[in-house]
Symmetry: none
Subunit: 130 residues, 4 copies
Amino acid sequence: MRNMNLIISNRSDEPIYIQLKRQIKEAILNGELQEGEACPSLRTVAKELRISVLTVSRAYAELEAEGFVKNVQGRGCFVMTRGQELLREQLVCQIEGALIQAVKAARLADLSSEELHDLLDVLLEMDLKD
Amino acid sequence: MRNMNLIISNRSDEPIYIQLKRQIKEAILNGELQEGEACPSLRTVAKELRISVLTVSRAYAELEAEGFVKNVQGRGCFVMTRGQELLREQLVCQIEGALIQAVKAARLADLSSEELHDLLDVLLEMDLKD
Amino acid sequence: MRNMNLIISNRSDEPIYIQLKRQIKEAILNGELQEGEACPSLRTVAKELRISVLTVSRAYAELEAEGFVKNVQGRGCFVMTRGQELLREQLVCQIEGALIQAVKAARLADLSSEELHDLLDVLLEMDLKD
Amino acid sequence: MRNMNLIISNRSDEPIYIQLKRQIKEAILNGELQEGEACPSLRTVAKELRISVLTVSRAYAELEAEGFVKNVQGRGCFVMTRGQELLREQLVCQIEGALIQAVKAARLADLSSEELHDLLDVLLEMDLKD
DNA sequence: GTGGTCTAGACCACT
DNA sequence: GTGGTCTAGACCACA
């Protein structure tokens, strides 16, 4: 079990359990959490972030439902094999979804394909902070 | 005051008043509702869609707060001048937001800029239904 | 009975009958409507401005209640003597009211008396259009 | 979350939700509510003032739309950073508006600039109660 | 516990 | 007829 530097924002529109899910997924994706490795325990996370155990529990439960981790009674929560691949697939769907939103809005705004590509290029050069 | 063919879905995640706002904005944007023209009255919309007057009222109130229409007691709800321009600006912000999401996800997924542009091209050729 | 060039805005927050009252008062004040003179008839105003007779009626009724005009059954509406003086008194009250609002807001905003006077000077030099 | 001594009047022309907005803004402005601090909860306010939860909700929603607070599901309503600055800007606009009204009325009443400044001075020395 | 959405119905002001 | 405000009570999502 590894120290994970999870960070949550109480003011974000994103629910806390979603913030947790996202950060754990990112940790799996960039190798910070290896396959088979244990995620930090429910109570550890809840205590450090000063949030309810129920909230953390919900995050872990959904991660398990999506196939990224396996919660074992009394043992903890472990990263599943193939988690990285699943995540990459999930991300591609997210990217498609975001681009579709952009394309729809661009059509309403009468923006041409070229303008959209140009805008994408500008954003690709930027340092996007969270 | 024009018949507007508003449609709402109760099963959507999107709150009803947001659906209304979105559709009225789209009507303004594509010229279905002209500047100065009257939107359908609160009660007309409420009755036709079989929803509460208050829900429609909320949509109109927010549209007014955002500067797209003007509600006048005893007379109705009118499309403001410059509404189209405001909407176009708002849309560009939405597009940027969506593209930023896409770029962030692409970086996590180790997708190259070229792959992202290619994906965008594919989507631009598609017929995106709502 | 004189032609008065009344103008109303349907988009204003100010109710129509209030707009009428205000314009007739201004006409009395600047001598456009003389003491004893007849105001334009209910139906004339209603027809020219394409508004309801009831709305004009309300304006005239309130002007009578405030002592500026006298409605005579079948004869019309006439400007009362002393209307100008009454109006000037009313205006002073309005000025006081507006200044009180300004002073209250200035205190909340921690603006000094000097800054308030300076702001007033700036506005006094401006050409304030309606 | 702090006890706030909110007071409402049912007889006022001012809608209840506007009275609430105004008082919370004033609390932010004079430091009674600090940045990041939680406002009293919807239900607490509603219960104490014996008004509908929806009315309070509306006040909070508009305060959020104007950028003064942030409502978070399940956690409460928090004062935003920069709220004080925004409020001060808003107040200056209000002051300008009030002074413009005063200047317009003064011109109609043939009051000189000096008389207006004198009147302002008198009011500045007064103790203006709500 | 928190805030978010929706309803059905009431009363008011303005046209 | 129009929009504006308020209520009481319901159900949902989040902590």
